[in-house]
């Protein structure tokens, strides 16, 4: 496994946990891994980007523009914002949810149209309404793990290894709920 992955979304969406699961997966597989996180002021509803690099030996903790193999986006406009990182034809797993930024809330701008088209033309797109799936599971906070499930399936991952990584990273009393969320994402990836 060698992969440069960008995980993006809005502060508070559970991006750090998703990146931690990826890191755990790589570590369990005996690979070198670096995960670069964002903490602090940007987390207060701002855009958040995490870099995950997995290889035999990883140097820079940051992925260069145009070099990411894949992207997991928790929000559709954030996926487009991070497109400069993606290599041509890279995998994009996107939650189709729209979270209005300040200019839209203020009525000063419209939430942009055509974002999914932009993603479609940039790479291999898997778009899913993870928020809807999370609601059906009665687990509104599980959007992150659902997206990981979909990403894992699309990348042809070993399900058991993923489930082990998820279990190791979530709080003990939420393991069962998170494994269900992962499997729901895994199922959603074939549609």
């Amino acid at each position: 496994m060698r992969m440069d992955l960008i995980i993006v979304g809005v502060g508070g969406q559970g991006i750090l946990l998703a990146s931690r699961v990826m890191g755990r997966l790589a570590m369990n597989a005996g690979r070198d891994v670096k995960v670069s996180e964002v903490h602090g002021m940007s987390q207060r509803g701002g855009d958040v980007i995490t870099h995950v690099r997995i290889a035999e030996a990883v140097q820079s903790p940051l992925i260069e523009e145009g070099k990411a193999d894949a992207m997991i986006a928790f929000e559709r406009m954030e996926a487009v914002r991070a497109l400069p990182y993606l290599k041509k034809g890279g995998l994009i797993v996107v939650n189709t949810q729209k979270i209005a930024p300040a200019p839209v809330l203020a009525g000063a701008a419209e939430y942009p149209e055509g974002l999914l088209d932009a993603l479609e033309s940039a790479g291999e797109l898997l778009a899913l309404d993870a928020q809807h799936i999370a609601k059906k599971l009665k687990a509104p906070r599980a959007v992150n793990i659902i997206l990981l499930g979909a990403f894992a399936r699309r990348r042809g991952g070993d399900q058991a290894a993923w489930l082990e990584a998820v279990s190791a990273c979530v709080p003990p009393r939420t393991v069962e709920a998170n494994l269900s969320a992962f499997l729901a994402g895994w199922e959603a990836a074939v549609q």
Binding site: V35, E64, A118
Partner: protein
């Protein structure tokens, strides 16, 4: 050997634990906070949040002087506050290892400036180590304790955001327990009055010379000879950038960036055709190399601002493409904002309504400066709001304070605002101070402080009474207020601002992120599109093309601020479980 995927900060904590560190005192500050949070999980270490960085370093120094390995952690601007004890601790030296962890923030992800802490090492005459990944964070911390004892000096360990907040694999080791020796009196070494300090200063100079000589033999200063047409000198996160951008170049990888290993650097420079220094922020190493007469370059290409990366390093080394790829044009900015239900918003609503001049401070509430609130005129550094307000009164006259306030959080007030309040009372000021008391240090991720009633372990602790403290400082007009009783807060601010005396309003409401249970969300009925609620800048309220507003039931926490400002009473509480 067991491995773990640790943040640089967590690896520092692990390194301190393995090195037998017993005492850690810190003040939170991004990106250093997680060191001390991780330390609190090690039961062999006595950890604490101090009211500020100066106190934290003094506590750590006291422990080290009394024979226990000790550490203080802070962000770059925190070292300004702790500079006073640092400079003289460099004279006294230590009995057990004393390590000061300082985390710089190139690109200012969560900071008010981009200062480069390495200059503190040079001007205080203490060594500074710079790890380049989490494994080195652990190893260098242990080494820092050893060097501290070997050379009888405090040792700085410098991180940057990309080291502190990046996870990488770390091989874990065991703890070396070190007994604390009996207390020994040694006033000639530890009482720094002129006579003793004059005897210590030459020792500082000799120690630094010895360190500089020994540096060329230290394993953490490593030469990787490859192609000799290019030789790069680097440290910290720049090392992996350089290795990736120029895998064939010869590299001098520094683990200790002050004092520099001059002998080894001269030998390296002699072997390479072109000598480039890659470093973020200031030309700290490059200037030193130039002072040695070596033909170093690099800063002209890398610049003084922001962080570097593989692409920028490649460009600096080999030229070529200069423009970074921009995000597609249709993407809108997403600036951070106060959370839905944040009690600070309720305060800024009143300050803006009364058109006051607002001297702000460091914390989440600095976001009160952003649109549409636009309710802040100045933010300088921790605790500065009160001093700035008093200084402005001196410049503009007392009438100016009849339309001005200082706004400061509970943790920031205790950090360094209280001394400015004492100044204003003592010197006949008439300012009004609002202490936004949410009982926690919010922006850095909810660390306890002396007003929280809990310590770093979450155990009950004496809860400092902010109102009583202000009274003890001599403030005659101190009152408390509920931010969500907007009428009463409006009246209280009006009265206190007009009063020609120092006054304090303690505005009490807990950080909304700490509240697990929320009232049901509000919804809108019969909106008249007046736009009044939109001026609150609440992320749960959005306006459509026709200017009528909706409330997002998923993010609204039912604080009711919008209901209290709506002139037409359109905001209705949803019954629990009901859907709009």
């Amino acid at each position: 050997m067991e491995k773990a995927l640790l943040l640089g900060d967590e690896a520092i904590a692990r390194g301190a634990w393995e090195a037998g560190c017993r005492v850690v005192s810190s003040y939170p500050g991004t990106p250093s906070t997680e060191v001390t949070e991780a330390i609190a999980a090690y039961k062999e270490i006595n950890a604490e949040w101090a009211p500020n960085e100066k106190v934290s370093l003094e506590v750590a120094f006291g422990a080290a002087m009394a024979g226990a390995r000790a550490m203080a952690c802070m962000k770059h601007v925190g070292l300004n506050v702790a500079a006073d004890p640092l400079f003289t601790a460099a004279y006294t030296g230590v009995r057990a290892g004393l390590v000061v962890v300082v985390a710089d923030d190139p690109a200012m992800f969560s900071s008010q400036n981009e200062q480069d802490s390495r200059y503190y090492a040079r001007s205080a005459h203490v060594p500074i180590l710079e790890p380049s990944d989490s494994q080195e964070c652990k190893d260098f911390t242990a080494l820092a304790f050893a060097l501290s004892e070997q050379y009888d000096t405090p040792v700085l360990v410098r991180l940057t955001t990309r080291i502190a907040h990046a996870r990488s694999l770390v091989t874990l080791g065991e703890r070396l327990d070190r007994p604390v020796p009996a207390w020994e009196k040694e006033p000639q070494k530890y009482v720094m009055m002129p006579g003793n300090a004059r005897r210590r200063h030459p020792i500082v100079e000799q120690r630094e010379k010895k360190l500089a000589e020994d540096a060329s033999e230290m394993e953490i200063n490593r030469i990787e000879m490859r192609d000799t047409t290019l030789g790069v000198v680097c440290a910290s996160v720049c090392y992996p950038y350089v290795r990736e951008a120029a895998p064939d170049a010869s590299v001098f990888k520094l683990g200790m960036t002050y004092p520099l290993p001059e002998t080894a650097l001269r030998a390296f420079a002699a072997k390479v055709e072109r000598l480039i220094v890659i470093e973020e922020l200031e030309p700290f190493m490059e200037d030193s190399l130039k002072a040695m007469g070596l033909p170093a370059a690099g800063k002209a290409e890398t610049g003084l601002q922001g962080e570097l990366g593989v692409r920028k390093v490649r460009r600096a080394l080999f030229g070529g493409e200069t423009r970074l790829i921009a995000a597609p044009p249709q993407v809108l900015p997403r600036p951070p904002a106060l959370c839905p239900g944040c009690p600070h918003r309720a305060v800024f609503n009143i300050l803006r309504k009364q058109k006051l001049n607002v001297f702000g401070d460091i914390g989440c509430y600095t976001l009160g400066a952003t649109p549409p609130l636009n309710a802040m005129d100045a933010t300088l550094c921790m605790g500065a709001s009160i001093g700035m307000a008093f200084g402005a009164e001196k410049a503009q006259g007392k009438a100016f304070s009849r339309k001005s306030v200082a706004v400061i959080g509970d943790s920031t007030f205790l950090h360094s605002g209280v001394t400015a309040l004492i100044d204003a009372v003592y010197n006949s000021g008439t300012i009004t101070v609002l202490i936004l008391d949410n009982r926690i240090t919010g922006m850095t991720g909810h660390q306890e402080n002396p007003a929280s009633g809990r310590d770093i372990y979450g155990s009950p602790a004496p809860m400092l009474d902010l109102a009583a403290l202000c009274q003890a400082c001599g403030v005659k007009h101190v009152r408390t207020a509920d931010p969500y009783d907007q009428k009463a807060l409006d009246a209280a601010v009006g009265e206190e601002v007009s009063r020609e005396a120092v006054s304090v309003i303690v505005v009490k409401w807990p950080c909304i992120l700490l509240e697990k249970e929320h009232p049901a969300p509000y919804h809108v009925e019969g909106c008249k599109a007046c736009g009044v609620c939109m001026r609150l800048g609440c992320p749960a309220i959005g306006s459509g093309a026709d200017r009528t507003v909706q409330i997002n039931p998923n993010t609204c926490v039912g604080c009711g601020l919008c209901a209290s400002v709506c002139p037409f009473g359109c905001m209705k509480l949803l019954e629990r479980g009901e859907h709009a």
